[in-house]
């Protein structure tokens, strides 16, 4: 994803576009996965919680 594409997708996600948000989530999935591990085990509930948290909080990011 190049610079312009990233900017447009992020702007869309911040504005509330579901497709753009999905792209952002997919793009940052490794980071979400990394934070979803508890005591060396993947916590699926935590992963879902983090994804919902991003969806709720992304609107606050100043583009």
């Amino acid at each position: 994803m190049n610079k312009e594409k990233f900017r447009s997708v992020l702007t869309g996600a911040v504005a509330g576009c579901q497709k753009d948000l999905e792209q952002i989530l997919n793009f940052y999935m490794p980071l979400i996965d990394k934070n979803s591990y508890v005591n060396g085990r993947l916590d699926e509930d935590l992963k879902q919680y983090l994804m919902i948290h991003i969806a709720l909080q992304i609107g606050k990011f100043p583009v």
Partner: protein
């Protein structure tokens, strides 16, 4: 190489990645704290009765925790009202007013929050008052 240079210049992506890392880290901490709080507060009322009366050593601590103090009530009405309350509330009231323990000690002993002890006490007293007005009968 060209791609690498391009991403190095992408200030927005770097800023967003940093923001996301912090947000995810904080969210994870909140989630784990919430889980920890929920795990510590076990309502005895939720457990099946047979677990509380079973003479299994594994559950003896729980039985001790919930057994009544066995003190005599002067008024039958009060005894009936007290008896119809949940075990958790009976235990909290006994510890507060008979054993004269502080809410902090009770919270530590029962493994719940101090806020929960205050809440249970206030609800138990209201329920007790209502039951006494009705003649000590009926569920809370």
């Amino acid at each position: 190489m060209n791609h690498q240079q391009e991403s190095e210049k992408d200030e927005l992506r770097a800023r967003f990645t940093g923001w996301l890392e912090v947000t995810l880290y904080r969210a994870k901490l909140n989630y784990l704290k919430k889980q920890d709080r929920e795990r510590k507060t076990i309502y005895v009322d939720v457990l099946p009765e047979e677990l509380l009366v079973e003479e299994n050593s594994e559950w003896k601590w729980l039985h001790r925790l919930t057994e009544q103090s066995g003190f005599d009530f002067k008024e039958e009405k009060l005894e009936r009202a007290f008896g119809s309350m949940t075990r958790q509330r009976q235990r909290i009231l006994t510890m507060l007013f008979v054993e004269e323990k502080t809410p902090e000690e009770i919270a530590r002993q029962l493994g719940c929050s101090q806020q929960n002890v205050y809440k249970q006490r206030s609800e138990a007293l209201i329920a007790l008052r209502n039951m006494l007005e009705r003649g000590g009968e009926g569920n809370e």
